[in-house]
């Protein structure tokens, strides 16, 4: 629960923080020019933004819907495999590949969500994990598309036949544009009528239901939207690495997405961006010191959860309350 006093500060913060984040990300290619390993830095930050898109999609249902999906990496994988499988058949243009990715994610979300939403709390976590693992093992068994080893792409997707994404800067700005669009779209969704019902159902589903809202339908719709957005991240990830593999769908990856959202602060959307930024940069930094970087990273996460309730956003007085 935010006190009225600090909520004004949080409101101001809700505009300045994402703005600052996006400005820094937009200027990064320029800054990288003066850093050693320019290509590497640009690649790293493109990766940060791709995971930020995935984390935002998770925050939409986790932070605003109260649905802890522990199988969200499946959507990342679906988006990536849409790129890999269509490429294997000679189709590489965004205008076809992206709709395929979105359709696959929507169908998967609709089918698994309809079943998973019948459960609550810990059972929902378990069942989404189970569906995620099903997707993972299905991918490993696709022997004609690389099976366990995955699938290498000959080239990045084209945009209307043009190799816009082939250049690392072009790709970087395409990812940034996708991130900004996804962020603004989700901002609008959570403030809309739909978002209001979704937020209400998180706090009190019975009250929401007895007001006349079919809570199940609202949650399922949010799950489908979230899955589609995450598939966009998957589409971009496959293009960045020019590689697709079942590892994209592993349950550890689903866990990482949850950690990013919680680290940044649930239910704010830009918290998810901040979370993926800090997570991936720390990973990069610490793994440079030692291969046992997780020994340092783990306790750091514990400290954030213990001392910054509401995630890193909580440190600034923003983020979701209680």
């Amino acid at each position: 629960m935010t006190e009225p006093k600090s909520s004004a500060r949080a409101d101001r913060f809700a505009i300045t923080l994402p703005l600052a984040l996006f400005i820094v990300l937009a200027l990064m290619p320029l800054l990288a020019h003066y850093l050693p390993g320019e290509r590497y830095v640009i690649g790293l930050f493109a990766r940060v933004m791709i995971f930020a898109i995935a984390a935002i999609s998770l925050d939409l249902i986790l932070g605003y819907g109260g649905l802890v999906s522990f199988g969200h990496a499946a959507f990342l994988g679906l988006g990536a495999y849409a790129v890999g499988i269509t490429a294997a058949h000679g189709i590489t243009d965004v205008t076809v590949v992206l709709p395929v990715a979105l359709a696959a994610a929507a169908l998967f979300a609709l089918a698994t969500g309809a079943i998973a939403m019948r459960t609550r709390g810990v059972y929902f976590i378990m069942i989404t994990l189970a569906f995620g693992q099903m997707a993972y093992y299905t991918a490993t068994s696709l022997s004609q598309y690389g099976g366990d080893d995955g699938l290498r792409l000959a080239a990045r997707s084209t945009v209307l036949g043009l190799p816009v994404l082939a250049d690392s800067r072009g790709f970087y700005f395409a990812v940034l544009a996708a991130l900004v669009v996804v962020y603004l779209l989700c901002r609008m969704i959570v403030a809309s009528r739909f978002g209001r019902v979704l937020r209400a159902a998180r706090e009190n589903p019975v009250r929401t239901e007895t007001m006349g809202y079919n809570v199940h339908a609202f949650r399922l719709t949010a799950y489908v939207i979230s899955g589609c957005i995450c598939a966009i991240a998957g589409f971009l990830l496959a293009n960045q690495n020019s590689f697709v593999s079942p590892a994209y769908m592993s349950w550890q990856r689903s866990g990482e997405l949850i950690v990013m959202v919680i680290l940044g602060g649930m239910g704010s959307l830009h918290g998810a961006v901040l979370g993926s930024l800090v997570y991936l940069l720390l990973e990069e930094l610490l793994s440079g010191f030692t291969e046992h970087w997780k020994v340092i990273f783990g306790p750091l996460l514990v400290l954030v959860v213990l001392f910054a309730r509401g995630g890193l956003m909580g440190l600034f007085g923003g983020g979701r309350r209680g």
């Binding site: 609008m188 009250r207 007895t210």
Partner: protein, 250 residues
């Protein structure tokens, strides 16, 4: 008499071996305030849950305006015009007081599957919510987070939510529970002003409220209806006095 707005026909419900609703039949006329009283564990709240669709019944029928709604889901019954309040205050604590009511207004004004337009900019919804808050005297608290209200104010907010749904039938589960004496008096007064405009089914332990408001009373003991009638009839009923009211009410 007119067609009853609500009609329960031989409802039955068991929780394991416990019979919580035992052959309950009752009728509520439009515009009436109907109170259900009875000792703790008599199955009063369960009965409201059955009517609002939160708990399925084992046997019997529920008819609302002549239509059988026995198997209809809760959200659909709310759309038909059955609103309820809860014994344990049920609001959206993280929403402002106003947004709690706006959410209720939104439920009966068009589709909520709208994704892009900011809901807070819909003046029509906000105005209707302001009216409902005015009716229960909560206007000054409109901007405050609902979770920070006092207990009595939360009860009033819940009433505002149910009013904003513009229901045909209001199911109120112990609206007086836990309110202070002054707050209770105010709540009775508010309910009295609403009498006649809505139909009420009221579960209440507070006999002051029951005898001040009810047109008819049904007495429930161990899931069974042991008496039904006007307040005077109930007051005079020896069996009811024995089972529940005690000598003080005489």
């Amino acid at each position: 008499m007119a067609e009853p707005i609500l009609r329960l026909e031989s409802l039955r419900k068991n929780f394991g071996g416990l019979r919580v609703t035992d052959d309950v039949s009752l009728e509520i006329q439009p515009g009436e305030v109907h109170a259900i009283i009875g000792p703790n564990g008599a199955g009063k709240t369960t009965l409201l849950n059955e009517i609002s669709g939160l708990v399925p019944v084992d046997a019997g029928h529920i008819r609302f305006e002549g239509t059988d709604i026995t198997g209809t889901p809760a959200h659909h019954r709310a759309r038909l015009g059955i609103a309820r309040s809860f014994q344990i205050t049920s609001i959206i604590p993280g929403f402002s007081v106003q947004e709690n009511v706006t959410l209720a207004v939104q439920a009966r004004s068009g589709s909520s599957f709208r994704f892009l337009w900011p809901a807070a900019s819909e003046r029509r919804l906000e105005e209707a919510a302001e009216d409902a808050l005015e009716q229960v005297g909560l206007s000054v608290r409109a901007r405050q987070p609902a979770g920070t209200l006092s207990h009595g104010e939360k009860r009033s907010l819940e009433l505002a939510i149910t009013l904003a749904l513009q229901p045909k039938l209001l199911l109120l589960d112990e609206p007086m529970a836990g309110t202070g004496r002054g707050e209770g008096e105010r709540l009775i007064e508010t309910l009295r002003t609403l009498k006649g405009r809505f139909t009420f089914l009221l579960v209440e332990h507070d006999m002051r409220a029951v005898f001040a408001l009810a047109d008819r009373i049904t007495v429930l003991v161990y899931g069974r209806v042991i008496a039904a009638g006007t307040p005077d009839e109930i007051r005079a009923n020896a069996e009811v006095r024995n089972a529940y009211l005690g000598e003080e009410a005489a």
